[in-house]
């Protein structure tokens, strides 16, 4: 690595993803600056989840490269990559009777090998991750017995246990009530302030506006706009992409944009 600031953060170029003959993502370029929260937004079916899986390097694209701080993610050894990048899927489920603690403990796998125990203090890291997402009281519960929102937090804790530098999340506020949504997004902000690069796919424009530093707007597999949230989320763009009327205000407390929506 050269320490060149131009290479800082997540850089994807010319990403195309196909399923059979259908082009899901068509030549996408995007940059996620280090230590920020970025939101990937766009209407249903725009390809947010698909793009996110490739940015997390769990799905190989048909063409294109994904690099973090100048290093090609697909060329990295898998376990090394999993210590760098964590991915929280949407609606994770399991048929197993695993406890919350053992699910979060899976996040330590990249730090272990078949024959060598954890490089860190696994139990402490797992407990701290559960504490961070306020799920300490659920440590011995069976994961499958939790509510959707509780599962979402446990999967976030699993990602935190990986101690990643880059954290990607697919709809992390799904199933959460509004208070919990704000808590999770607040937590992502604190992680970013501590140097983690965060990218979350969000379908709620209002949350994206209030909590992200940058946005990438996706429609039908292509990026239609990207940049600083306050400058990018204009009424014209929202109208063009979502087909709704938007008024963008400024929250006097946070200084961030607030979006009021109405039908055209």
């Amino acid at each position: 690595m050269t320490g060149n600031s131009a290479a800082d953060g997540l850089e994807a170029s010319r990403i195309s993803i196909r399923a059979g003959n259908t082009v899901l993502i068509d030549g996408v370029d995007c940059t996620i600056p280090s230590g920020t929260v970025s939101a990937l937004i766009g209407p249903n079916g725009a390809g947010k989840s698909t793009l996110l899986r490739t940015l997390a390097a769990v799905q190989q694209p048909a063409t294109g490269t994904v690099a973090f701080d100048g290093t090609d993610l697909f060329a990295m050894p898998r376990r090394e990559r999993a210590r760098l990048v964590a991915f929280v899927e949407q609606d994770a489920t399991t048929d197993t009777a695993m406890t919350v603690t053992s699910v979060v403990g899976l996040g330590r796998l990249p730090h272990q090998s078949l024959f060598r125990d954890d490089t860190g203090d696994s139990a402490t890291i797992v407990a701290a991750a559960l504490h961070t997402v306020e799920m300490s009281g659920f440590a011995d519960r069976e994961f499958a017995s939790l509510s959707g929102g509780e599962r979402q937090r446990v999967m976030l804790a699993r990602a935190l246990a990986q101690q990643p530098t880059l954290l990607l999340l697919d709809e992390p506020t799904n199933h959460l009530d509004i208070g919990a949504q704000l808590e999770v997004l607040g937590l992502l902000g604190r992680l970013a302030a501590n140097g983690t690069t965060v990218l979350a796919a969000l379908h709620d424009l209002g949350l994206a506006a209030s909590y992200s530093d940058h946005v990438i707007v996706l429609r039908a597999g292509t990026v239609v706009a990207a940049g600083r949230t306050a400058e990018t989320l204009t009424p014209e763009l929202i109208r063009e992409v979502y087909g709704v009327h938007a008024t963008v205000l400024h929250n006097p407390t946070t200084g961030r944009p607030v979006i009021a929506l109405s039908p055209l």
Binding site: T94, D95, Q162
Partner: protein
């Protein structure tokens, strides 16, 4: 939930129970043989002193019962490991070691050589039959597009059905009298013919496939949330899946080649062990192997003694015990993996 038995406690206890089961099972049978006679015979054959037993009794221990009991233990262990692995990598709680056409392929191979009158080739033919069936299953699955667990299972079903049909056809046209009994015994799963060559085959399979599988417990845990999740944890999903599938197939093929297809061991025991040890594979795999070994040692002891002097195929015993347990597990609506 949290009352799970730790591996450090369960493994030594079950290990001791397995050794005790093997020794006790050798004493049971039409000829009464005492514990000390069993030890003395084993010791003498391992080079410690001369057996005090008359040649006939020594032969019963060393040539008949001990190899059979050891084969039962290894087959039980192998089937339980293969079952646990199949359930994990296909994320299907109803998966068993015979899933991918393995047992029907083996049966076809076995029936073919029995009818050709080449019974000595039976283990080899059964093993080849299992591997050919596995190959066809994977070929069929890949012709459907990307090889996914559900496609693999469905392809296995198709190959199984075809191999069973051919087996039935062959039996229907050619089998008479004695050979019918022999074939039926084999199809139902039987350890009656197990001698030292069988022990050698199954022990080699355990060493080259079973033990490596047991070391991959952490990787299997990573599959609990599916492929994407496993990949995000740094697991090479397809390489891991195929390596485990191949090792399980090898293990199962070797077991089937000496014992026919003994049902329910690989299906039920992993579930039963999960209830006491929890779902983590690092504990589950070795404990399932031990419980599988103990279970099959006793099931086979019942099979050869319950209706003396006639013998039951052990597959009937495992099915009679296994099917109700399976029903019980289902009715408790426990999460089965």
């Amino acid at each position: 939930m949290a009352r799970r038995l730790p591996l450090a406690v369960a493994a030594p206890v079950l290990g001791a129970a397995l050794v005790a089961s093997i020794v006790v099972a050798v004493t049971i049978g039409p000829a009464d043989i005492r514990f000390d006679e069993v030890w003395a015979s084993i010791a003498s054959h391992l080079g410690f002193g001369v057996s005090p037993l008359p040649l006939l009794r020594d032969g019963i221990v060393w040539e008949l019962r001990l190899p059979r009991v050891l084969t039962a233990a290894a087959v039980g262990a192998g089937l339980a490991i293969a079952g646990a692995v199949m359930q994990a990598i296909t994320r299907n709680p109803l998966a068993d070691p015979y899933l991918l056409g393995l047992s029907s392929g083996a049966s076809l191979g076995a029936v073919a050589v029995l009818l050709l009158g080449a019974a000595v080739l039976l283990p080899l033919a059964a093993f080849l039959g299992a591997m050919v069936a596995l190959g066809l299953t994977l070929l069929l699955a890949s012709s459907l597009g990307a090889i996914t667990p559900s496609r693999t299972v469905l392809a296995g079903l198709a190959v199984s059905a075809l191999a069973s049909a051919i087996t039935s056809l062959v039996i229907f046209w050619t089998v008479t009298g004695d050979s019918y009994r022999e074939i039926l015994g084999w199809l139902l799963g039987s350890l009656a013919g197990a001698r030292w060559p069988a022990v050698t085959i199954v022990v080699i399979a355990i060493v080259i496939a079973g033990i490596p599988i047991m070391l991959t417990g952490r990787l299997l845990d990573a599959f609990a949330f599916g492929d994407v999740s496993a990949a995000s944890l740094g697991v090479n999903v397809s390489a891991t899946r195929w390596a485990l599938l191949a090792a399980s197939a090898l293990l199962t093929g070797a077991m089937v080649s000496v014992s026919g297809s003994i049902g329910f061991v690989g299906l039920i025991l992993p579930h039963a062990v999960r209830l006491i040890a929890g779902p983590a594979h690092r504990a589950l795999l070795p404990l399932a192997a031990l419980v599988g070994a103990i279970f099959l040692v006793w099931a086979d002891t019942v099979a050869r003694t319950a209706f003396e002097p006639r013998e039951l195929p052990v597959g009937i015993v495992t099915a009679i015990i296994g099917a109700p347990i399976f029903a019980l597990l289902l009715s408790r609506r426990r999460r089965l993996t």
